[in-house]
Symmetry: D2
Subunit: 356 residues, 4 copies
């Protein structure tokens, strides 16, 4: 489960009946439709372009409870997506061999059992529930606070895009299949991924995200700092290896006098001149844009033979088979946005409960 | 509160009665003494060297419940440290002005009130409770699983230490005041901090940490992935701006075939040849060393005049006054170790509950 | 959500897509089938006899995640039951009028919206999820600890059954439609309910339950005492008005020297001579049978005209219409068993986490 | 821990350093003083009259964090009471023998260790933390919503008081040492307790409580029904054996048409003509007075010899020794009020978070 007040539980394995999510604690009277949720799911869906996994799923969502006549009831919202592309023969090899840098080995050791078809619970299909829940959280944030959340691909391997996080718009992001608003670099990224894809290999990179119009005061002083919950959210996504907020790791190269964000006035509003803090100070939003970055490793599902070990404890070679995912980044974009939305919606409600 | 089963609640402001922690859910029959906890607190304590804050506190801990005849009872453990160095006149300026990149402004806006003496709840004194709780978690992990957690300063500004995380020992870390096991670079670090300190300025850097002898199977598949909880733990520490596990941000420069950790056998044990995963796969520990890094910004408390705004909404200059903290890193080391211990102890108990 | 480690979230309104449950935290490798769950759901199902509600639902369960090749995976288990008997025209009156002693008024005031079809979220259909989850909890308890949970109707209105909670068996309970193991009194109960049913009225009563073979040590000392969680579980069931454990309210008529349960030895086992404590002392199970009783009010759904108020704030008469429920007790029996199972399964895991 | 948003953690054993509580999630800017808390603690304190335990403790509270210049900061509030009456020699016998119907046996079996001095964690001293936290919750409820909570002794053994829960005032309750507002029956109660006290025995009874001016809409539809959380709160108190709300167990003797509370209008407000529901419908407050009753068994601490078993597994006789508690009811009154306040404060915040 994720969230204290806006609570989200996903369920489902890659193969088997269905995947989905229960959203509990969403305020009543929020207008929401399957269509709005579907729109976000389509951004996450496999097979949407040649540079992501070729797995083919309709990912059609059904809202089965918690919404009545187009509005939330305040009761748990169940959203369900059936699994249809069950080519489990492709996964036969996975029954016997542990795929390197996947969850096969750790699941087997932890539980003594795993659904070896397509990664089971560790499959990226689990994120369908997150994106569906995120669609509702986004709507809530937008309706109540005009808060807007956007993510985009900032870096693929050594290709680094120039993006102004204060100004970027959704349409800039959706303009190309790699979801990078820097059109020129986007082309290079696509070319590079294509090249690596043909070699059966994969690439990683950085997704940057911005949350704008976040009211002052969200977040908690100690363990549930806003950046702490954002970090957890990002590092709970498959394939993420690093997180930073504001200046992040580059803060190291500055001194305190360079890094501190001076306060100033714009009209009668207190603003900071710079935003190295990334919109959060002392764990609490300060009204500036929240800017975070997440590093995603090159996808583990590749089309090359790899050394491994069998379930029975013998050395083995895992052969290239099935479909691979040359770059998770374009599909990670809606996942990142969704997780940020879940964190912010939860802290919005927590803030109102304690400090209305 | 932090943790689901090994639960920790800290309390206390910088000035005022006391700071401390309640640890709930610690197993019974664990031998623990005030002396053991004190030893860790002394590593965190201000005034321990010229390169950290000069604030002077005894930080003497009392265990007031949950321990009987030297052993834990299984009931909540209260540990308390009184506040003694209450030079609140030093903080008078803080009543009226928001210190840049501190929590003054966000606390005031969130709560409509703040204890302006020495940072109140946002003071690093809050971490006393974490380190005290961490001392117990460390003991539990060591006794039950031989798990060992070590952190050390890996980088200060542009000075980067060479440390073998597989072999480093506590004595190497405690050998110098900057807590960097690379003796040569440590000297340079100290010199650099000294120089910046004299300018009234501050520096940031990276704390790296390793957890060794972590059993296979700790962590959860989805939201409570081990790296997600570690990220939250690190990003909940004051001044942290970034987190990474294993290959972290550098994974971006590799391809999937380079980055995947091949499985192999050592005796009848399944091991990985490389450890880019950082000891966690699919959110669950795989038996390799867990290696994480946390970026800490240059401390916000500097001795230079800064532009700011007053509580009443006027532009103002914050003058250098009181004591500053040229580099938080040496004191962050026990904080990092403690937070890792809290995460691991909690997941150890969760694992035993579900998968014994 | 219910439970800390064995966690259960139900979802669904009476009318609309589906009702069901997500069970999270169930240990892996537990054998469970849809058939086993269905068996319990059939005991809860409406229309099973003339003395309960006539609503007709197949209540066919599907397990859509968390189970693989007949065994739990350790991942969230989704169980779903579709709503089929959607005679929403019967409920048209409910759109405008608040039914006395139902949740119509409070839901409308709390949320500003309600699914007025058949009670929506407040419908007893919600308990389908509980009974499905309870079936899994029961299985876990039986397999691991041989713990057995039985509930039965102890009292209907003024008819009081004689039942030995130490010896009663499931087959005694299932022998008649009122689920009262005292065959003679059961007949009288059925006759009385029949009589009141024909008048369009309803009756309440007491469900008693026993848990046998509960290991010593389950439960927590303070807020999460075993009896506290059992009380919460019972009082969360629709129509419950009172709860007691062991001697319960009758303890009042005894003195301390009469009420204390003397310890004695049976072989080398410590046992109590009497069991006024009801199997729990200081919040923790003591190895004796746990015995609790829950009072259920006469069902609010009756076939008589009643004074009420409309949504628009006018006085009105609610006319008899649709189907009524003369006595909820026989269907409450599996609900009570399920909720006890959820409490015990959760405390079993908590105990193992802290005190293995 | 108790509560989801207004969170309370008590700590402390009967003997040893201290007992107390951390209150987390209390809104900021609430005026609160040690004096106000102390007033409630004095009502709970032992030795306040001859009919309760003679143990002598000052129970002086200190607020050590979370309050600044007389107002809550929104940060965790630590309240501490030292243990002073450490006559541990009185408890020497308890080291070896399990006291019947106390927690000695279950604690020993669960944890393998217990603080045998005066009951340790199971001592009623633990409730100091609850009453201190309750004092803050009461203040919050009164300031924000004018909600008022009163409890009183309704029954001692077979002596039953007449009290109008709609009208009773605090001064009526505090007028006599048994805290029963029916002055005539109160005298008889005191006389009866006196008589039993001289015999070294004890009595139980019923505490009734009313919450007035509870806004409509507090509580949750399913597991966290208001009556479910109230039941848990009451059954978490030491010595409680039963709970009921509104008509409670007596609802059984009514039919549905008698028991349903008809809606009517008072001005433009929807009210119920009767209040068998006890102020809660469908788990949510309906604006009527909330009325609950809790049964407390005769206190287990008596001055008579009792059969028992030793820690080493031998039959033994526990001799009368030390001080006993002839009737817990007068001291249970502030505990009951406090626990109700904690439940209501928590649900108030939850309601505002979701449905403001």
């Amino acid at each position: 489960m994720f969230g204290q007040l806006f609570r989200v539980s996903t369920f489902g394995e890659s193969h088997g009946g269905a995947v989905g999510v229960v959203v509990d604690g969403c305020p009543p009277m929020l207008a929401i439709s399957e269509k709005e949720v579907q729109k976000e799911l389509n951004r996450r869906k496999p097979g949407q372009s040649r540079i992501t996994t070729a797995r083919n799923e309709a990912d059609q969502v059904q809202i089965l409870s918690g919404v009545f006549q187009g509005k939330t009831l305040g009761t748990p919202i169940l959203m369900l997506v059936g699994n249809t592309d069950a080519r489990s023969q492709d996964y036969k090899q996975m029954q016997d061999l542990f795929r390197p840098s996947h969850a096969d080995f750790t699941y087997q050791m932890k539980y003594g059992i795993r659904n070896w078809q397509g990664g089971g619970r560790s499959s990226a299909r689990e994120t369908i529930g997150r994106v569906a829940a995120g669609a509702i959280a986004k709507k809530l944030l937008k309706e109540r606070y005009k808060t807007e959340i956007l993510a985009y691909v900032k870096q693929v391997h050594d290709l680094y895009a120039e993006v102004d996080s204060n100004k970027v718009q959704l349409k800039d992001i959706e303009k190309n299949i790699v979801r990078c608003p820097d059109a020129k670099v986007a082309k290079e990224m696509i070319a590079l991924i294509d090249q690596v894809r043909k070699q059966g290999d994969s690439l990683g990179g950085v997704v940057e995200a911005v949350a704008r119009n976040v009211p002052i005061g969200w977040g908690e002083p100690v363990f549930d700092k806003l950046e702490a919950d954002l970090a957890k959210a990002m590092m709970s996504l498959p394939a993420s290896k690093g997180f930073e907020i504001g200046s992040g790791f580059s803060s190291i190269m500055m001194t305190g006098s360079e890094h501190n964000d001076p306060f100033t006035l714009k009209g009668n509003k207190v603003k900071t001149k710079s935003n190295f803090s990334g919109g959060v100070q002392g764990g609490i939003s300060n009204g500036e844009n929240i800017v975070i970055r997440t590093a995603f490793k090159p996808t583990a599902t590749i089309m090359k033979s790899q050394e491994t070990v069998s379930v029975k404890g013998k050395k083995a070679i895992l052969k290239a088979k099935g479909r691979h995912d040359p770059c998770v980044l374009p599909r990670a974009v809606p996942m990142v946005e969704s997780m940020i939305a879940l964190v912010l919606a939860d802290h919005a409600l927590r803030h109102e409960a304690q400090c209305r």
